[in-house]
Amino acid sequence: MPINLETIAFTLFAAMCVGGGLGVAVLRNLFHAALSLLLALFGAAGLFVLLSAPFLAMVQILVYMGAIAILILFVIMLTQQVIVPEPYNRQWVLGALAALVALGALFMVIAQLGGGDAPYLQPQPLAPEVSDSGIAALGSDLVDPGRYLVPFEVAGLLLTVALVGAISIARED
């Protein structure tokens, strides 16, 4: 792999993802675990940028970091016991096995797709100089009856139902 800006950025973001993910799993302090979740999500957003999907990267930051992770932090701030005495339980052997199987499956998929030489596995140019046709295409696809109009509306309806349900549960009377 040539050493250039993209490689450095990829290494950095990948390390953020893996390190952050590891932190979520092993840190005893719940608040620190949530902060490392933020780090992992930020790394994923960076990877989306490298994959020429800036829109997805921004939505990742906005939804996952700006809303969901903040909600998690908010809840942790209101809990009594922030330090978990023992983050591991007896199922860690099973968990490690499951993780290994998943990793193996991923490797097999990548190998079948052509290994490390496949064109889409090569580093992508950083912030490509393209018009925002990608966003425009995404937008028109979402309201195109032939494409994703129905799933999009169903997802919207589902979210509305969830919102109404949450409010009706939270109401005191």
Binding site: F31, I70, L126
Partner: protein, 406 residues
């Protein structure tokens, strides 16, 4: 400005093939953000002094203009008192996140036709997502300080920021829709003939109000209600660590003004801005300082609102209006070209008048309807209180005692 990465056409940022130009652009943006801040603090202190009938800083240099530099030196040499029971990682992460989130916004603010940190094609979305990160810094400060006032302050900020993000985002979509692009440079570019303030005055007002709440400045500065939670989330910070929060807040306020100017007041657009890019920089900063002046004026005139008032103001007033404006603008934008076909290409001032007129009228009608609804609500509320008083369930407050003559 020889150092700015000059691009051939309007709208490009630094050249991605030249790593050096990226670094130069990044450092310049940082310097502009920090350099203006030194001036802004003096500017705002002088202004608040005039609002409050004082003189303001007037000892260090002419008109006290070097006061901020003296203050920075003092803060640099001041001891940072660190409480013993803090959560170290979170405590020290908080000021970095708070400042970083604000400075990162400047990357997409177009300063002139050729000077922009990075002309992302998702610039507007970038601004929204980065500003939502600022909340993490506040949360970290509130929790890491291990202080109940800091914690309460942090919780308040999150409630406030998450709520006001909704109208902020909805009103941001209006200029995005009018320009047909998420790129900040395109949005400014599309305002060559007519500022979006004319086309979307209500969206501009909602954006400014929600932005003021997002920045957490008066009248929305509940996060540091001195009488309730002392200084809020940054209570346990001192010296330079406190200065970081101070810096973040003041810079955020200035950034809000810069974004308002970019989205609604034509950014760097002005006479000869396209021909002479340096003039664009001048127009941009002139407009930004005018906006900053008005925001500060508001800040030092209006008293702090109560927290439940603030929340219902957001969810029952700003958010519904923002939704209506969004739908209204979208409908008119689709109907207008269908009824009166316009020739493609960049419209001049005269050609853009009909579109602006229709949108402006629609906004006026909306304002009228809102005021009518508000009058109804206020009348019912007065009636309700009068009924309560009549039933004897509620007694009107006793009149103020007569002032005693000394």
């Amino acid at each position: 400005m020889p150092n700015l990465p000059v691009a051939a056409e309007i709208g490009s940022g630094p050249n991605p093939d030249e790593p050096l130009s990226i670094i130069v652009a990044a450092v310049l943006i940082l310097l502009i953000a920090m350099g203006t801040l030194i001036f802004n603090i003096w500017f705002e202190r002088k202004q608040v002094a005039r609002v409050q009938d004082r003189l303001g800083p007037n000892r260090v240099g002419p008109w006290g203009i070097f006061q901020t530099i003296a203050d920075v030196l003092k803060l640099l040499t001041k001891e940072i008192i660190i409480p013993s029971q803090i959560d170290r990682l979170t405590y020290w992460l908080a000021p970095v996140l708070a400042v970083g989130a604000v400075i990162m916004i400047w990357a997409v603010v177009p300063l002139s036709p050729v000077a922009i940190g990075s002309d992302l094609n998702v610039g507007a979305l970038y601004f929204i997502s980065i500003s939502s990160l600022g909340a993490v810094g506040v949360l970290a400060a509130g929790w890491g300080s291990n202080n109940k006032y800091a914690l309460l302050g942090g919780l308040r900020v999150i409630a406030q920021m998450v709520s006001y993000e909704v109208p902020l985002m909805l009103s941001l979509l209006v200029p995005v829709m009018l320009a047909g692009s998420l790129s900040m440079q395109d949005i400014v570019d599309a305002q060559g003939a007519m500022w979006y303030f004319i086309l979307a005055p209500v969206a501009c007002l909602i954006f400014t109000t929600a932005g003021q709440a997002e920045v957490a400045r008066a009248p929305f500065d509940l996060i540091e209600g001195e009488s309730e939670i002392v200084a809020g989330h940054h209570i346990e910070y001192s010296g330079l660590a406190f200065a970081m929060f101070y810096l973040a807040e003041w810079l955020h306020s200035f950034t809000l003004s810069a974004l308002c100017v970019t989205l609604f007041f034509g950014g760097w657009q002005g006479p000869f801005a396209v021909e002479v890019p340096a003039l664009g920089l001048l127009w941009f900063f002139l407009k930004t300082y005018a906006g900053y002046f008005i925001l500060n004026w508001l800040r030092y005139t209006v008293p702090r609102v109560r927290i439940d008032h603030m929340m219902s103001f957001n969810w029952k007033f700003l958010t519904p209006i923002a939704l209506v404006v969004l739908v209204m603008t979208a409908t008119l934008e689709k109907l207008w070209p269908a009824l009166f076909p316009v020739d493609p290409g960049r419209p001049g001032f005269i050609q853009s008048l009909p579109r602006a007129g229709i949108l402006f009228l629609a906004n006026l009608v909306l304002v009228g309807v809102v005021i009518m609804i508000l009058r109804q609500v206020a009348r019912r509320e007065r009636q309700r209180v009068e009924d309560l008083v009549d039933e004897g369930q509620y007694s009107a407050p006793a009149p103020m005692p007569e002032p005693v003559e000394v």
